[in-house]
C-alpha cells in the first residue's frame, strides 16, 4: 500500500481510527462505565505546536518506535503523537525549567548533559527537516513516505548518528525515543497511554496507590487492573 505524503500510513490510520471503537466497546460494559468521551481521531487532530510536516514525521516515527504489530498496543493506538505535541507545546518543549543562558558548548562530551542552546521543541523543529533531507538523499523519500522497513533502517542510522547531525541537534533521537516511551506510559491525562492500554499490557495498576495487604503475598500476581489519576478504570 502507498503512503500518502504528509499523512500516516493507511495501516496507522486504521489503527488510529480503531482505537475509538475498541474503547467504545469497553465503555459499553456497565462495571467500567464513566469513560471519558472519545477524543478526536489522530488523523483529525489539530496539533498545538507541531506543523503538518512535523506532525507527519512524529506520527510515522512513533509508529516504528513502538509498532502496532504483535502483542500489546502501539504508539498510535495509545495516542503518543498527541502526548508529544502537548509536551512540546508546554513547559518541557520550552525548557521552561532549565538554565538556557550562554555561553553554550554544544559539542562538549555528551556526559556533560544538555548543552545545546536549543529547547526540546526547537530540536524537533530543526532536526526533522535535516533528517527528512537525509532520508530523501539516502532513501529517495522523506521519512514519513518510506516503507516501514526502510523507516526502521533510517531510525537506526539516526540513533547511530550516521548522518553526523550537528552537535546542537545530537540529542534528537534520544529525546524522541524518551518522549515516545513517556507518552506510552504516562497517565492518560497527558494525551498518551490512551485507555491505559500500556499499563494494562504490562500490568501496572497506575494510581491505585494502596497495597498494604499485598506486601506479604510474595510471588503472587497482583490481580487488579489500572486506574488513572482522573478516575478512569480499564
Amino acid at each position: 500500500m502507498r503512503d500518502v505524503p504528509g499523512l500516516p500510513s493507511r495501516r496507522t490510520f486504521l489503527k488510529a481510527s480503531a482505537a475509538s471503537a475498541a474503547i467504545a466497546g469497553i465503555a459499553a460494559v456497565p462495571a467500567k462505565a464513566e469513560q471519558k468521551p472519545e477524543p478526536v481521531a489522530l488523523t483529525e487532530y489539530k496539533p498545538d505546536c507541531l506543523k503538518p510536516s512535523e506532525w507527519a514525521f512524529v506520527m510515522a516515527a512513533v509508529a516504528r518506535l513502538i509498532p502496532s504489530e504483535g502483542e500489546g498496543p502501539g504508539a498510535i493506538e495509545t495516542r503518543v503523537p498527541v502526548f508529544i505535541d502537548m509536551q512540546l507545546a508546554g513547559d518541557y518543549g520550552r525548557a521552561a525549567d532549565w538554565y538556557m543562558q550562554g555561553p553554550h558548548d554544544a559539542a562538549a562530551s555528551p556526559l556533560r548533559g544538555w548543552q545545546t542552546p536549543l529547547t526540546p521543541l526547537e530540536v524537533y523543529q530543526q532536526a526533522i527537516p535535516v533528517f527528512d533531507a537525509w532520508c530523501k538523499a539516502t532513501h529517495g523519500k522523506i521519512f514519513a513516505e518510506l516503507d516501514g522497513e526502510t523507516q526502521d533502517k533510517a531510525l537506526t542510522s539516526l540513533q547511530k548518528d550516521e548522518m553526523k547531525i550537528k552537535p546542537e541537534l545530537r540529542d534528537f533521537f534520544t529525546i524522541l525515543l524518551a518522549n515516545t516511551k513517556e507518552g506510552y506510559f504516562a497517565d492518560p491525562m497527558y494525551g498518551g497511554n490512551h485507555g491505559m492500554q500500556a499499563w494494562t499490557y504490562i500490568g501496572f495498576p497506575g494510581a491505585r496507590g494502596s497495597y498494604r495487604e499485598w506486601v506479604l503475598k510474595h510471588n503472587v500476581k497482583y490481580p487488579l487492573g489500572p486506574v488513572s489519576i482522573s478516575g478512569e478504570r480499564a
Binding site: D97, D187, I202, G203, A207, G209, S210, R212, W214, N219
Partner: protein, 588 residues
C-alpha cells in the same frame, strides 16, 4: 529598593530538615526565630494530595518538586583542565525546593554511620599503616560516636523511623544489623515488611553466612506520635516515595514531624520565596549582622538583621552562600590551603539486576526504604590494606517503585525500540529485582567547590563550580563489591543477571540519576586549616554563624546521609542552647 526588616534573634537560611530542627529547638528557648525559604510553601494538604501527587510524569520525570535550574544551578567539570559547564537540566542529583526541601521527596532510608567512619583517618592509619594516598584528604570527625549517639536517637524518634535494632548498648539483637554502632534503645517503630525481592535476597544472604536485616527508614510501619504530638499513619506501600511528597502522612518529612507544630509557636515565623543572597558581616568581620535576601513577592532586596545566622540549606547551597559571603577562606587545590569548598564528596553505588521469568515481584508495591540489607561489606568489616582501597558499602534489595517510564529493567541486548522492545516490556515488567551496593566516597584534593568565573545566576551572583570525578580508590571499592555480589547472585539462580558497576576509568556523567548525596565543602573539624566549621558546626571566624547539613561531612559515609544530618543538627542545637546562648563566643 532595599528595605530592612525588624531584627530577629535567629535567622535560618533554608527550611528543610535542619531548619525545622533548629527552629524548634531554639524556639523552645523563647528566641524570635525567622526561617527564610527560597522556594514556595508546601504541605501534605493541599500540595501532596492523592491522587494528583502520584504522577510519574510530572514529578518523577519532569521533576516537579525539584529546584529549577533556570532559577539557580551550578557548573560542573571533571578536572581543573576542563571548562565547567552549567548543570542545565537535572540528572545525577536533584536538589529540592520549597518548604521541607529534600526531606519531602527523599526515599526515607535512614542510617547512622559505622564506628570507623567517625575517625576514618586515624582508624585507617592505626589499623593498616600508612596507606592513605597523598591526594586523599579524608579526616576524622571532631566528635565521637558516643557523643553523637543521643542526637541520632533524638532524630530517629522525632522523624519516626522504622527498623530493627541490631546492637543495643553492646548487646547484639537477633534479626538486626550486628555491625551497627551500639544504640541506646530500639527504633521507635518496628521494621517494615519486605516485598518478595528483599525476602529472596535476605534468604540468599543468610545461606551464604551473611547477616541480613530489614532496611531502616522513615516510613511508618504502624501508627506513631512523636514528642510534638505529630502523627504518622502506617504506610500503604504506594510506591511513590522518592521525588514525591507523601500523601499518606507515612513518610518522615519536616512537615510530618516538626513544621506543623513549629508553626504554632508565636515566636517562630517563616517567609517563603525569599532567596538569601549573602550573609552580611560586621565591620571587623568577626560576626555576622544578618542576611540580605531577595523577596520575590515585592521584587526587592531585604536586609534582615539577626543575632545568630544558621545556614540550614542543602549542602551545596550552604557552601555557595559561604563562598559568596566570605565566611571562611575559599579552598585552593593548588596550594591545598583554604577550607570552604574543600572535601566535596558524593556517593558511589552499583548493583545487579536479576530476571526471573516465572516469578511475580509486583514492583509497584514498594516504599523508599523497602527490603533487606546486609552490612557484611561495611567499612568496619573490610581490610583496607589487603583489599587495596579505603571504603565500604551496605547492600540492599527492596523495590521502591514500579513506575514504568523510569523503572523498566530489561535484559541487556533488548532493542531500545521497535517490536523487540515492545515484546520485552510485556515479558519482563514485574519479573526482575535489584540488589544494590551503596558505597562510600572518599574526599580528594581535586574534588572541590569554588565560584565559577563565567556563569551567573538570575541574581547576578557567580554560580558555584563543582570540580568532581570518580577516583581509582572508590572505583576499586565498587568493583570489590561486584566481586562479592556475583556469587550471591549466582546462588539465587536467576534466568538472567546483569550488573551495573562502574569500572576503572569511569568518568562522572551528569545525565543519569545517581544520588542527591552531595556532601562536604564546609566540613567539621578540629583544625581551622582543614575545616570550615568547628565541632559545634560553628564558623571558625564568625562565631554567630553556624552551618548545618551534609556539607559538614569530612568525606561521605557509606550510607544515605539524612540520619547523620539529623544527628549533627541536634548535636549542634544542644550546644547552641547550653553553651552558646548564655555566652556567645567561639566555642572552640
Amino acid at each position: 529598593m532595599a528595605r530592612t526588616e525588624k531584627k530577629k534573634n535567629v535567622v535560618l537560611v533554608g527550611f528543610g530538615w535542619t531548619g525545622a530542627i533548629l527552629g524548634m529547638e531554639l524556639a523552645q528557648e523563647g528566641l524570635e526565630i525567622l526561617a527564610l525559604e527560597r522556594g514556595h510553601d508546601q504541605n501534605t494538604v493541599p500540595d501532596f494530595q492523592y491522587p494528583n501527587m502520584i504522577d510519574e510524569l510530572k514529578y518523577g520525570v519532569r521533576l516537579g518538586m525539584m529546584q529549577k535550574p533556570r532559577n539557580g544551578t551550578l557548573t560542573i567539570r571533571r578536572d581543573q583542565n576542563e571548562t565547567a559547564l552549567p548543570y542545565r537540566s537535572l540528572g545525577t542529583f536533584l536538589p529540592g525546593i520549597g518548604v521541607g526541601g529534600a526531606g519531602t521527596h527523599w526515599n526515607g532510608l535512614n542510617w547512622r554511620p559505622m564506628q570507623s567512619e567517625y575517625h576514618l583517618r586515624s582508624y585507617t592509619q592505626e589499623k593498616f599503616g600508612n596507606i592513605i594516598p597523598d591526594d586523599m584528604t579524608i579526616q576524622d570527625y571532631p566528635m565521637s560516636y558516643a557523643e553523637l549517639e543521643p542526637h541520632f536517637d533524638r532524630f530517629e524518634y522525632v522523624a519516626g523511623i522504622s527498623g530493627q535494632a541490631g546492637n543495643i548498648n553492646g548487646k547484639v539483637v537477633e534479626g538486626g544489623n550486628p555491625f551497627e554502632a551500639p544504640r541506646s534503645r530500639d527504633y521507635p517503630m518496628p521494621p517494615m515488611h519486605s516485598t518478595w525481592d528483599g525476602k529472596k535476597f535476605g534468604d540468599a544472604a543468610r545461606a551464604m553466612g551473611y547477616h541480613p536485616f530489614p532496611s531502616p527508614g522513615g516510613i511508618a510501619s504502624k501508627d506513631y506520635v512523636n514528642e510534638y504530638n505529630m502523627q504518622m499513619g502506617p504506610c500503604n506501600h504506594c510506591g511513590f516515595c522518592e521525588r514525591f511528597g507523601c500523601y499518606n502522612y507515612s513518610k518522615s518529612s519536616p512537615q510530618t514531624a516538626i513544621i506543623d507544630a513549629l508553626k504554632r509557636k508565636k515566636n517562630f515565623e517563616y517567609r517563603t520565596n525569599c532567596d538569601v543572597l549573602r550573609v552580611e558581616k560586621s565591620a571587623d568581620g568577626k560576626t555576622a549582622t544578618g542576611v540580605t535576601y531577595y523577596d520575590e513577592k515585592t521584587g526587592e532586596e531585604v536586609f534582615q538583621p539577626a543575632d545568630i545566622v544558621i545556614l540550614t540549606a542543602f549542602s551545596l547551597h550552604n557552601v555557595h552562600l559561604m563562598l559568596l559571603s566570605g565566611i571562611g577562606k575559599p579552598y585552593d587545590p593548588v596550594t591545598n590551603e583554604g577550607v570552604v569548598g574543600r572535601n566535596y564528596s558524593y556517593q558511589l553505588t552499583g548493583g545487579y539486576t536479576l530476571f526471573f521469568k516465572d516469578e511475580n515481584f509486583n514492583p509497584f508495591i514498594g516504599t523508599g526504604a523497602n527490603g533487606m540489607c546486609i552490612d557484611d561489606f561495611g567499612m568496619d568489616n573490610i581490610d583496607f590494606a589487603k583489599e587495596g582501597f579505603i571504603g565500604g558499602a551496605y547492600w540492599r534489595s527492596g523495590q521502591t517503585n514500579g513506575q514504568p517510564i523510569r523503572s523498566m529493567s530489561l535484559p541487556a541486548g533488548t532493542p531500545s525500540w521497535g517490536a523487540g522492545w515492545k515484546k520485552a516490556v510485556g515479558e519482563w515488567y514485574g519479573h526482575s529485582m535489584n540488589i544494590g551496593a551503596h558505597g562510600s566516597l572518599m574526599s580528594y584534593r581535586g574534588n572541590y567547590l569554588d565560584l565559577d568565573p563565567t556563569y551567573k545566576d538570575p541574581r547576578g551572583r557567580a554560580m558555584m563550580r563543582m570540580t568532581f570525578n570518580w577516583q581509582p580508590n572508590d572505583l576499586k571499592m565498587i568493583q570489590f563489591m561486584k566481586s562479592k555480589m556475583e556469587p550471591l547472585v549466582k546462588s539465587m539462580n536467576p534466568d538472567i543477571a546483569q550488573d551495573g558497576f562502574k569500572k576503572d576509568g569511569a568518568m562522572f556523567d551528569v545525565r543519569p540519576y545517581q544520588t542527591t548525596h552531595n556532601t562536604g565543602g564546609a566540613v567539621t573539624g578540629d583544625d581551622p586549616k582543614t575545616s570550615a566549621i568547628n565541632r559545634y558546626l560553628q564558623a571558625w571566624d564568625q562565631h554567630n554563624v553556624f552551618v548545618m547539613g551534609a556539607s559538614a561531612f569530612p568525606q561521605n559515609t557509606q550510607y544515605n546521609p539524612t540520619g547523620m544530618v539529623g544527628g549533627l543538627a541536634y548535636w549542634a542545637a544542644e550546644h547552641i542552647r547550653k553553651d552558646y546562648l548564655p555566652n556567645p563566643r567561639p566555642l572552640v
